[in-house]
Every structure is written in C-alpha cells, then in structure tokens.
C-alpha cells in the first residue's frame, strides 16, 4: 500500500515508530528465561510417553541420588488444593469438567502429560535427573480423532464418564426445517479445520518464588493474562489472592497459547513452597509441542439450502470439535465462538448448528489466534465457493447477494449477536479492483500456456472481537468478565504514567497508548510511560486476547484521559478565576475562550494539582483517574482478502503470486502497527493453509513434535502483499475503533484454499483440505488426471 510516512512521536492516526523497539534491538529485552533470582533452582518435567496409560509405579530414588538434584516431586508429594481449573461452562451444553491434577495421579491421557518434576542446580542436571525417574505404565487404548471418539464403542478417555462427549452446543432458529425443505436446491460440504500449534518463538516459562516467612508468592511467567493466573494460583495453591503477585516480563509472542493458566505455573509455585527457594522452568520447543495448548481441530458438515441466485435460505452445520484430554481455561468456549460466527457476513436467518465437543487422547485445544472464528470463516467461505460452483455463478456475486447490507446495521444475527457496523460491498469492490479481478482470465490463460494452473480466491470475513461485554461473558458461561482497566497518573512535572490492564506481547501498546495520551491530553508522546503486566502495580486487568486491547483497554484509557482533562478544567477555572464554561480545550491546555494569553497547560495544571495550594472546593489533589470500562457490545471488523495462486503440476507446490487484503477495523491509532498485525496474521493463516498440521499417530504418538516436522512459514515462503483499508467506525465505543490482531488469520486460509480449488477446478476438483502441502496437491492432480 502507499506507505504512510513514519515518525518519531505523534498522536492518533500517525505511523509512529515504536518506543518499545530499542530494548529489543539492543538485546536488553527481558524475557522470563533472562531472569535469575538468588538461590534459584531449575525444574524439568517428566512427561508421559504414552497417549493413554495407567501408572503402576514411580521410582524417583536414582534421580534423587544424583548429585545436584534436590528433589523429585510427584502427585503424592506436590501440594495442591485442586487441579487446573476451566473457566468455561456454556449453558445448556452439559459440559463435563474432568479433574486435571498438576501431576498425573494414576492415569495419563495424552503424550506429554506431566508426571513428575525434577528440581536441580541447573537445567542440565535436572534433565539428567528426569532421565533417571522410572515410571511404570500399563498402556490403555487411545482415540485421537473427535468423530471416532464420539462413535459407539470408542475407548474412553475418562473412564468415569459413559462416553467421550465433552459438551454439546445446539442452536436452531424457529422455522429452520421448513426453510431448508423449501429450498430450491441444497449444497453440501465437509470441511476439516486441522489441528495446529501456536508456536510463539518464545516458549512458555515461569519462576515461582514462595517466601516461607510471609506466605507471599511471586510468579514470573510468560503470559497474556497475569491477573487470571493470580486468581487461579490462589485457588490451586490454596492461598490468599492478596498474597500472590504475578509479574509478566517481556513476552515473546502468545497467539492465545499464553491466554491460559497451566499446570507448570502452579507446580513451580508449589515446588518453591516445598523447597524454600525460587524454582524456574523453561519449556523446550519439543515440550511446547505437547505441553502447550493446540488450536482448531474441528470437522464440519455443512448443508446449505439456496435459491437460484445463490442466496442461502437455510444453513445447517453439524460439527465435531476435538477438545483434547482435558479442559484448559476456555476450551469449551472456543467452538462456541465458532457457533456465533457461522453465518459470517451474510444475512442468513434460518440456521441450525450442532457442535459436538469430544475428549480425545491429545493435548487440550484452546484459543489460538482467531479462536473459533477462523473455523467459522473458513467453513462459510469455502461453502460460498461451493455454492457458486454448484450454480455456475461468480463467487463474488454469490457473496454479494448474501451480504448484510449497510442499512441493516446494527444487525441482529440468527446466532444472537448484534453486528455494530459494516459495509461489505465496499471492501469487496476495493479488493477486486486492487487485485485486478477483472483481468484474471488473461493471467490464467498465460499461466496455462506455461503449463501451470492458476486460480483466484476470495474470503469476505467478519469477526467478533473486542471481548467482551461482561453480561455477555456471563451469559455464555465464561467465568470472567470482559471489562478493562486503565489509570492515568500525571506527575508533578507533567509527565504521565499509564497503567493498563492489557498485556501486550508484541502489539506495541506502549506506543499506541502514548499516541492516545498525546492526542487526548496534550502530554507529548515521549513523556508517557506505560506499565502493564504486574499485578502489584495495577488493579485487576483482563489482559490481551480476542483483539480486545484497543477496543476495550484503549477505550478505558481514553475515558480516564477525559476524566483527567475535566478535573484539570476545574483547577484551571479556579486558577484563572473564571467558570469552567468559559474555558476551551486547545489540545494541550485550557484557555479562556478567545484569550490565548489566559491559559494553563496540562503540565502546569498537573503541577498545581500536586501542589494543591489553590484547589477548587471539593476537588482532591493530583491529576489521576481510573476507569473500568465495560463495553456495551463487541466490535465487528471485516474485510475482503483476495489470493491468486499458481500450481506447478510437476511438484504440486501452491505458489501465492499475489495477495490483496482490504480490511476495515474502524478508526486506526497507528497504521504502521495495524499493517504489521495484518502481515503477521495473514502469514499465520497462510501457515495453516499451506504447511502446518499437528499430527497424532493411531497409537497417540505426536508425529510433529519439533519445528523440523511442524512447518512454520519462513521468509522464503511469504508472498508479495497489497494492503488497503476502508474505515467504518464502530458505534460501540467513543473512539470508533474495532481491533485487528486476528483479522489476517481469520481471513487468509479461505482465500488461499479457494484460490487453489479454483486453479484445479478445470480438473474437476471441488474441494481441498489443509494443509495444501505439495504431496497432497500432487496426489490430487494425479488422481484427477489419470
């Protein structure tokens, strides 16, 4: 896109270079593995090598005899009040919540489930010790696939239940069956949204530090949700929440993998309690592949009743979600988010959705960038192309006839959401123009002349983000609210500290929040410091996930700035001996209307508020304000992505030759950061479309345990991209902002797969599953041409 000029410092809407960068480019970033506390020991977990087995004995003697090993703890010796807790209980779903002890008691249910913790002088010795822990297992039958797990006679993951049903969500509108029966024709499609692994470049890690004398515990952990972790430590470790401090150092990426509370976080606290010294655990990459949540893993069966124009008159989805062996923080809610977004950006009034969640002998699934919404978007966008194909229509036209129209907003969806604002035709038009959709036929002919297949694919997406109104989180059974906190503190010198409940891990909140302060309060960008991620310094914060930081946390900041500004106005009126109504805000000072010489800058007012010698009646000293902002609604960013591919018939390689994204995330604070989020999001979607798949063998073994088998895109794999935006402000908040962190990932996979299906459509190919690795595509071509 036309590059916006980048600047050092600035306000809302400017491409301001990040104030976070310097520490990272100089190596001064401080991630959890960079911290060392006095007397600290190191932990390594002994993990199950079986997908399902009974533990018949654990012998720790040899490990404990090894010089340098201090202790080996097992379920019997590691203190805990309870196991890991799940905060998600969708109403009416009959959700089951199996116990997930910190260390396995008598049964392991997935490869990688922790069984013992070895604590030693350094991590080499702890690893040596772990190799000497002898665990006797009796293997049990395994099931790893959600559909298979729900079939009669499947091996039971939890023998206390009669079957592997984890939860079932069902939603159907009145009159659905009649609408489907009356449709001119039906189109059916099965779509697999495969299991993937989040793979932040920094794995997880934490240090527990339990003070024996006071009972205070500090956990340094690589997380997106410090306050959740604190609350849950108080439950799991059986202590007062007021004695728990959670500190988030720099976090090397999260993507939802760190939106959780994990066994290891509790275990290092308890181990520190037992040993009396800090205990550090840093996850290995191959450990991360089994010990940290996975994403997706949903199988979908769509039936669309359509009229001759391609308009969907009724839509049915029967889906199977693989929850893994246990429920992590939000597992049952993730496919609930899929349910909400099944209709996408289309006006589909008659709908029936059944989401059957299953327990399997696999690592639990939970939020991964997009969390339930990519599954919905990928499915409906594949379905749109299937409908177009069935009717012989242009996929763009089928989308248009189904779009919710601009005049329908606010729009009540058949799944119970109220979409705030949107203009889907405009982003589609703009994307088709930028991608030269009209000129595609000529490009296809040119490719075919070179013996290559060429295709073009669309993804018109809408997502729900800005999580979330607290009344809604409660109504859908999430045991946590969705508001966010901010405090703005002006120091006597007029410099500002912002304390935010959001918890950035690459998103650049310090920069964006400083821009908001400069615009709204007139304190220069460089005079603002942003504090986050330490429960000792902030009131409760909900953290960073679900593209919520700006739409909820940023708006909380905006409201605190407004409060500070208004308080400053009262002080200014007192100093200038006028009424507040006589004052106008200049952007950085209050001045008597029409009299620039009678003004007080925000810095002067901060000093006066601190000195407090001349305060108006009833006004407290100091310019400081706090807001807990609970949004009235979600926000609904949207857009159109267009992908163009070439496929080499000899190798089966899908090459993306052009990628165009037109996104609408409402008003933008920093276009450079937004573009960065879109780039990264698209490449994660591309990873799922082309390369990534977390695979279990029949025996429950993890077949993709390292970055050698699990292919993450590299610089050599990324296509040229054209980015553009339209701006449809959200009416859900006074800033008109929406959110952009997940949009790219939500949109990309469908555009890429649709392009590849289009490329091979001449061979009679109607559908392709992800990941479209060369071998898979080569086989498809062979079958179609032989």
């Amino acid at each position: 896109m036309a590059t916006v000029e980048r600047k050092t410092g600035g306000g809302i809407g400017e491409a301001v270079l990040r104030k976070e960068d310097r520490k990272f480019v100089t190596g001064e970033g401080r991630y959890v593995d960079d911290l060392r506390l006095p007397g600290m020991l190191h932990a390594v977990f002994v993990r199950s090598p079986f997908g399902h087995a009974r533990i018949t004995g654990i012998d720790t003697a040899a490990a404990e005899a090894l010089p340098g090993v201090h202790r080996v703890l097992t379920h019997a010796t590691l203190p805990a009040e309870t196991g890991v807790l799940c905060a998600s209980n969708p109403p009416g779903s009959d959700v089951r919540q199996p116990e997930q002890p910190l260390l396995a008691r008598d049964e392991v249910r997935y490869v990688g489930e922790p069984v013992a913790i070895v604590i030693a002088d350094d991590r080499y010795l702890a690893r040596d010790g772990a190799d000497l822990v002898h665990v006797d297992y009796d293997p049990l039958p395994v099931v790893c696939d959600a559909e298979a797990a729900l079939a009669d006679g499947a091996p039971l993951v939890h023998s206390e239940y009669p079957d592997n049903a984890a939860a079932t969500l069902f939603h159907e509108t009145d009159g659905f069956a009649e609408a489907l029966a009356g449709a001119a024709r039906t189109v059916e499609l099965r779509v697999v949204n495969q299991r993937v692994t989040p793979m932040p470049m920094e794995t997880r890690g934490c240090i527990g530090d339990w003070q024996q004398s006071t009972g205070e515990v500090t956990l340094h952990t690589s997380t997106q949700v410090a306050h959740f972790v604190r609350t849950f430590i108080s439950f799991v470790c059986g202590t007062s929440e007021a004695k728990v401090r959670v500190v988030t150092p720099d976090v090397g990426g999260g993507f939802g993998a760190k939106l959780n509370t994990y066994r290891e976080e509790f275990a290092v606290c308890s181990a520190s309690r037992v040993l009396g010294v800090p205990v550090k655990w840093i996850e290995d990459r191959s450990e991360n592949a089994v010990a940290t949540i996975h994403g997706r893993d949903q199988i979908q069966y769509y039936t669309a009743g359509v009229d001759e124009s391609g308009r969907i008159v009724a839509l049915k989805l029967e889906a199977f979600q693989n929850n893994g062996a246990y429920h992590q923080l939000l597992t049952p809610t993730i496919s609930h988010l899929t349910v909400f977004m099944v209709p996408g950006c289309y006006d589909i009034q008659n709908i029936s959705i059944r989401m059957r969640q299953a327990f399997t002998n696999t690592t639990p699934t939970d939020a991964y960038r997009g969390a339930g919404r990519p599954e919905a978007t990928h499915g409906i966008e594949r379905l749109m192309d299937a409908i177009a194909d069935d009717l012989g229509l242009d996929p763009a036209e089928v989308r248009r006839v189904n779009f919710i129209k601009p005049e329908q907003f606010p729009y009540s969806s058949s799944t119970g959401l109220v979409y705030d604002s949107g203009d889907y035709d405009t982003t589609l038009d703009e994307a088709l123009r930028l991608a030269d959709y009209a000129g595609f036929a000529a490009r296809r002919a040119a490719s075919e002349a070179n013996g290559r297949y060429r295709g073009i694919g669309l993804s018109t997406y809408v997502e729900v983000c800005g999580l979330a109104p607290s009344a809604v989180t409660a109504a859908i059974g999430v045991g946590a609210p969705g508001w966010e906190h901010s405090t703005v503190r002006l120091h006597p010198t007029g410099k500002a500290t912002v304390i935010t409940g959001t918890s950035p891990h690459g998103q650049g909140h310090a920069t964006s929040w400083s821009q908001i302060v400069q615009t709204e309060l007139g304190v220069p960008f460089e005079d603002v410091e942003v504090i986050h991620g330490d429960t000792a310094f902030q009131p409760y914060g909900l953290g960073t996930y679900g593209s919520r930081s700006l739409a909820v946390g940023g708006v909380a900041l905006y409201r605190s700035l407004g409060k500070v500004r208004e308080k400053a106005r009262e002080i200014a009126a007192n100093l200038l001996e006028c009424s507040v109504d006589d004052l106008e805000w200049t952007g950085s000072s209050w001045q008597v209307k029409g009299s620039p010489d009678r003004a007080k800058t925000i810095q002067e007012l901060a000093g006066a508020a601190w000195a407090a010698s001349s305060m108006p009646e009833g006004v407290e000293p100091v310019l400081e304000a706090t807001t807990f902002h609970d949004p009235p609604n979600f926000t609904f960013p949207f857009g159109t992505h267009v992908c163009e591919v070439e496929i080499d018939p000899d190798t089966g390689r899908v090459e993306i030759v052009n990628y165009t994204a037109v996104d609408d995330c409402g008003n933008v604070i920093n276009p450079m950061i937004v573009d960065g989020q879109v780039h990264g999001g698209i490449i994660q979607g591309l990873g799922q479309a082309l390369y990534e798949e977390t695979v279990y063998g029949e025996d429950g073994q993890m077949l993709t345990p390292t970055l050698v088998e699990y292919l993450v895109p590299s610089a050599a794999d990324v296509p040229p991209m054209t980015l553009a935006r339209t701006t449809t402000p959200s009416p859900s908040n006074p800033m008109g902002v929406k959110g952009i962190g997940e949009a790219g990932t939500i949109a990309a996979s469908a555009a890429i797969v649709n392009a590849a299906v289009d490329a091979l459509s001449g061979l009679g190919v109607r559908h392709l599953e992800m990941p479209m690795q060369p071998a898979r595509i080569w086989n498809v071509i062979q079958e179609a041409t032989s």
Binding site: R6, L17, R18, E20, D21, R22, K23, F24, V25, T26, G27, E28, G29, R30, Y31, D33, D34, R36, D122, Y124, M199, P200, M201, E202, T203, D250, V251, G252, G253, F255, D284, R285, S286, H505, G506, Q507, G508, M672, I673, D675, G676, H679, G680, G681, I682, I683, Q684, T706, L707, V708, V712, P713, S714, A715, A716, V718, M721, G744
Partner: protein, 157 residues
C-alpha cells in the same frame, strides 16, 4: 570435569571453566549473562540463537562452548557502539521489523551476515538467506525491508 576456555565476546576476552557439554548459547547466556541471544528450539531450526563466530553467522545452540575456545564471538549486545545503534538495529526499528522482539537478535545477526557477504543481495536472496530464522509475529515483510534498508545504509556509509 570442567575445561578452561578463552573466548573473546564483543571485543572482551573471557576466560572461564565450562562443563564440556555446555552449549555456546548457554555459556553466553548463563555464564556471561549476555541474555540478548535467545533460544527458540531444540533442533537447530529457528535461528533465534544466531551469533557471529569469527565473523560467520552460526547457531550458538549447535556449537559447544569449548569449540569456541580461542575464537571471537559477536552477539546482539556488540552491535551498538557508544549508545549509537548499528544500521541493522536502526533499520529494524524504522521498518517495524519486530513485534515481540524474540526473534530479533538472531534475525539481525543473520541479516548482518547476509549484508557482509553480499552487500547487493536482491530481496529474493535476502529471503532465502533468512530462511533459517523463524519469526511468528511479523510475516517477514518488514524484516526483509529492514535488511534491505540496512544494506543500502551500510553501502552509503
């Protein structure tokens, strides 16, 4: 038993006793507390740990500390001079070539290696050369732009 080695890191000679199995990356991070070099994998696939060993980019997770005996190592901490950012650091900043920053030190050391070997590398060559360095945040567009712009800047000066 420990073994005594001398390694010159960012211009300073360090003599230390190491366990022979100690990886160079752990020597740098744990013994010298130079934590700017990161660890992102255990299969030599991510590039987070890239440093220069006698002027060549290497994966410090794949080199034993004892193998670096007598060698010169350059890490991210040795890039800036006198508070002045190195052109590669400045370029990553100005091109928004980082988000969480975890891959960044390794990415810059590899990028610098490319520039030093081929100051006129085309974008395609830069992409190929960065293939062993994974970034999960940026989608690489701005990383490639940053390396390109650092190369131009260094050619000018």
């Amino acid at each position: 038993m420990g073994q005594t080695i001398t390694v010159t890191v960012n211009g300073t000679a360090h003599t230390a006793e190491v366990d022979p199995r100690t990886l160079l990356v752990h020597f740098l991070r744990e013994q010298l507390t130079l934590t700017g070099t990161h660890i992102g994998c255990d299969t030599s696939t991510c590039g987070c740990c890239t440093v220069h060993l006698d002027g060549e980019p290497v994966l410090s997770c794949s080199v034993l500390a004892v193998q670096a005996d007598g060698c010169a190592v350059r890490t991210v901490e040795g890039l800036a001079e006198g508070g002045e950012l190195h052109p590669i650091q400045q370029a990553f900043h100005e091109n928004h070539g980082l988000q969480c920053g975890f891959c960044t030190p390794g990415m810059m050391m590899t990028g610098l290696g490319v520039i030093e070997q081929n100051p006129n590398a085309a974008d395609e060559e830069i992409r190929e050369a960065l293939e062993g360095n994974l970034c999960r945040c940026t989608g690489y567009q701005n990383i490639v732009a940053a390396v390109r712009s650092a190369a131009d800047q260094m050619a000018r000066s």
